[in-house]
Symmetry: C2
């Protein structure tokens, strides 16, 4: 009985999140409202508000719950292969609807709304950072990464150039761009032995 | 006569831009309007619209015209010194009002408004990229930078980690952070000779 109710709750939650992405893709983030999601999903407005305090929180959860596992690191034993694959997966997600444009709008909103900014960090950036640091730590222990490389900076150094393209220049994120960035970061900017 | 008129035009333009930043700092970007700037600057609304098609364009010009020279590269002959000084200047600007919060709001707006995004790239990012590449090219010619370092990526690699902090984690940008990033980028992530 409780199991049945939990399953029903879980599938209703998932239906609301799927509807959020569908509707967001159709009409854009600016026009998306919790009321419209409720109406299309056949759910009560208050059911949604009980779980998600704002449109930003609902969208963030919807983007993540349905796509988070896409961003897990493989572990082939080779760090450059694994970083490359994981970053390819991330930019493929950022490049296509509904994730790409809705995630971009969400980051835009985070510049005005501290609650959205906090949720973005807590629910998405922090877990991704933890996964990245764990994978790099293992590589460092195996001698595949510079011994002195500061793992606390890993997320900013690896994903900063992607966000720069995604949010500032708005040029397309391609696998070739990822390859070039990784090659440059691994080689370093220093002149080496001169 | 023409000179006097040009000088008057230039000082009125500057007064409008100063008013934009003052008012933007007081009431925030969301509430800023061209009408309010016109009223406080004692200028006609149409005078402003003739020069700036939108609030975003006016704010961008105001931020840049009054601060652009802060972001010129020094040339002491040592590339790490010069990068460090220029990036310190950039984050000092990003860290303090009015530039910081208004620039953040502008980048937020660029996620929704393609005209603001285009203006941001054309008026700010492209000139900054050119200055950065020119300074790095000279360093590369002098053997102070890895010979294979791809200068086309320089802006994304150097400023990506700053924007990641500024737009995503919203943690403070400090000189220490800049030092750590530069050290990591120059050393590289690769294990070196193993």
């Amino acid at each position: 009985m409780t199991d049945t109710r939990n399953r029903r709750g879980a599938s209703r939650t998932e239906a609301i999140m799927r509807t959020t992405l569908e509707l967001g893709q159709e009409i854009g983030y600016a026009k998306l409202s919790i009321e419209a999601v409720a109406a299309r999903a056949g759910a009560g407005k208050h059911t949604i508000y009980r779980r998600w305090p704002s449109k930003g929180a609902l969208l963030l959860d919807s983007l993540l719950s349905l796509h988070e596992s896409d961003l897990d690191y493989p572990d082939t034993g080779d760090i450059t292969t694994d970083l490359r694959q994981q970053i390819y997966a991330a930019i493929d997600l950022m490049a296509r609807p509904p994730f790409g444009p809705l995630y971009q709008a969400l980051v835009g909103e985070a510049q005005y709304d501290p609650q959205v900014a906090a949720a973005l960090n807590e629910r998405f950036i922090a877990p991704q950072t933890n996964k990245t640091v764990a994978r790099l730590k293992k590589a460092q222990d195996q001698g595949q990464l510079a011994r002195g490389f500061n793992l606390d900076l890993a997320m900013a150094i690896l994903s900063g150039p992607l966000y720069f393209q995604f949010l500032i220049t708005h040029e397309p994120l391609t696998h070739e761009y990822v390859d070039q960035i990784l090659d440059s970061l691994f080689a370093g900017m220093g002149p080496g032995d001169v």
